[in-house]
Symmetry: C3
């Protein structure tokens, strides 16, 4: 079976930039399968690109190659990287876009310096096509990551919104707003479980207190609530509506999950929900 290369960029789909990258890859590695993750990362928003790569990568089979190009530093001395982590390979600029994959000790990184794995002519403005796409294609052809350049032990890491314990709860932030207006937070499923074990919890966001539920369908019509979503993070949703609109929320907004003794009253309602997925 031929290798898979996924693509995550901020190039949009109106221009031909993504297709130029794919043409370069197929010219070098003709049997590769190409899968788009997203090309609508907000221009230059490295954190948003990092979250998209992290969310998608774990659902692909081991050995998948993930190309991530959100690259405001193109044309500067910022490095290019090939990283192996979690059984996958990641290719892109060394600007923090791979931060979420560097949390454990299982990674290795190499600088992309070998000229033989680039296009013969490298532009100053489009390393996605001229450096990173050919590198990903060469990985797909079997070139070991260590052959691309020297090991890198200090890849750039973004300051990352984390969750932290506060009196009676966990505090975090909104880190992403999805298409449905759901708010994805920095509070992980494990923290929710620890906090709620044997009790119940409520979430405070934007001055409102919301119940913690198990699924969208437990919310009353147009009701807002929090739940552990498909990314294994605490999410805030409005049933059949947009939490981002209802709560005037945006990335960075503080969110606090607190333990309560109130019994859950919303448990068994049934109905339609906020993200049909």
């Amino acid at each position: 079976v031929s290798p898979i290369i996924t693509l995550t960029t901020d190039f949009g789909t109106r221009d031909s930039y993504v297709a130029e990258m794919k043409g370069v890859i197929l010219g070098l590695a003709p049997t590769v399968r190409l899968i788009d993750v997203s090309h609508e990362v907000e221009p230059q928003q490295i954190t948003e690109g990092a979250l998209a790569v992290e969310a998608a990568a774990s659902w692909f089979p081991a050995g998948t190659i993930h190309l991530a190009v959100v690259d405001p530093g193109v044309g500067t001395a910022r490095r290019g990287l090939v990283i192996t982590a979690r059984g996958h390979v990641f290719v892109g600029p060394d600007n923090g876009v791979f931060t979420p994959l560097l949390t454990e000790a299982d990674w290795q990184a190499f600088e992309l310096t070998e000229p033989q794995f680039r296009l013969p002519r490298v532009s100053q403005t489009f390393h996605g096509r001229d450096v990173f796409a050919p590198a990903a294609a060469h990985v797909a052809l079997g070139v070991p990551p260590s052959r691309f350049g020297r090991p890198v032990t200090d890849p750039v890491r973004l300051g990352w919104a984390q969750a932290h314990r506060v009196a009676g709860g966990v505090a975090g932030r909104v880190i992403h707003v999805d298409r449905f207006g759901n708010l994805i937070t920095s509070i992980g499923a494990g923290e929710v479980q620890t906090l709620t074990a044997g009790g119940t919890a409520a979430v405070r966001v934007g001055g409102r207190a919301l119940p913690l539920v198990g699924t969208y369908a437990e919310l009353p019509p147009a009701g807002a609530g929090a739940l552990v979503g498909s990314r294994q993070r605490l999410e805030i949703a409005v049933r059949d509506g947009s939490a981002a609109v209802s709560l005037r929320a945006r990335v960075g907004m503080p969110v606090v999950l607190s333990r309560t003794m109130r019994p859950k009253t919303l448990r068994s309602r049934r109905g339609s929900s906020s993200r049909g997925a």
Copy 2:
């Protein structure tokens, strides 16, 4: 030749949701070919998803698997289905998204209950990834639809805008507005042919009377008219413009096709047209 799976969702292309589904599919059925129909179905609009699946499906080769996930009821007791119809296979929630395919007697439906054809851990909010994508992959691997669960004889059907005969004509509604602003109606090509046999016809919509023409190019510049479009439905178009804007039209607006005796005067003009396709 490896099987084709098409994907129709309301997930958008900004988030990683579609890629997560594709990763799951390729992990199970590595040689499958994946084709996007649309991920820009208006969130939660089951009818719009149903029209997209219907419009696309018939152009694919027999045996194609069509995955359709517009799923406001995720997390409730709504069923999941595998349906065979018209020589194709359809996978998705039992909420009416497959209504247009259930018009004849040639279909069979089965409930998606067998745990072995799901991911080991099923979230409450993303059955597209955890239930429907693995089901489609298993169909691609050759699992017969009857192995997914019990037969279903009463799948959910949406109330559907139909055309009906009125004095001297046929009445219907706008069921879709496409990218070009063309209005797709519930009046089918067969009804248009029956009505116009040996005569001519006019269309009334939004208080205006429009000619029935054979192609966009018969319309005068910026002129509005009706024609049988590529979906074999009566469509309303404005040459080099948007009928939706010109006629302030939207989904649900009534449309009446009436027989007239006026000779067609617009037949042989030539020029550019409203949807270059």
Copy 3:
């Protein structure tokens, strides 16, 4: 290795039109690999489609088939074409969408008239699906272009924004605005090189004078400048911003590159840039 077909249209990705074309192609040529260039060409804007095809094509391997359907004349007597040029094959309407490929003497064009290479039933409104997609599939299957119909020696060519010499410089126009707000101009890399050999240059656009730099990173924060971009054309960019917004620029705006004797002062600054690519 199976052939590649790229697709460039103005159909958008919300409707099922693109998927219908892909279904037709895969029904005829099951092993073809399909790559989207763009489906967000502004409706009916043939020039924009032509620029996208030109920008993408050269990055694909020889023998790639490029399907381009921006077709306001569908349903009129406008011809359909198969063109061989630069080692690639191009399929679409004869309305100028292939103009940039017809600049040298290495092309041959044939009219798409043979009924055996169309769908059995051809609609009046969607030749992308009924005529051009099947033609591309047949090229992929090995049908020689000359078998589709008579040779065409006078394909439609668009009046094209060119660059021309003026006193002390070169004058051109903005021909495209990309997602990042960069302005792509009709002035080519060769003209820039000729003009700047042994000296420096400045660009006038919208009443402002901008420096010519080597990469985005040479610009001061929020600064505007011109450079030779990844399409081998003079581009105008604003660092970490949108030149289209800052300069209130749009397609058609005049741009003049003039030789100056001022030394380059911006050469070695480093920082983030306007299109991370």
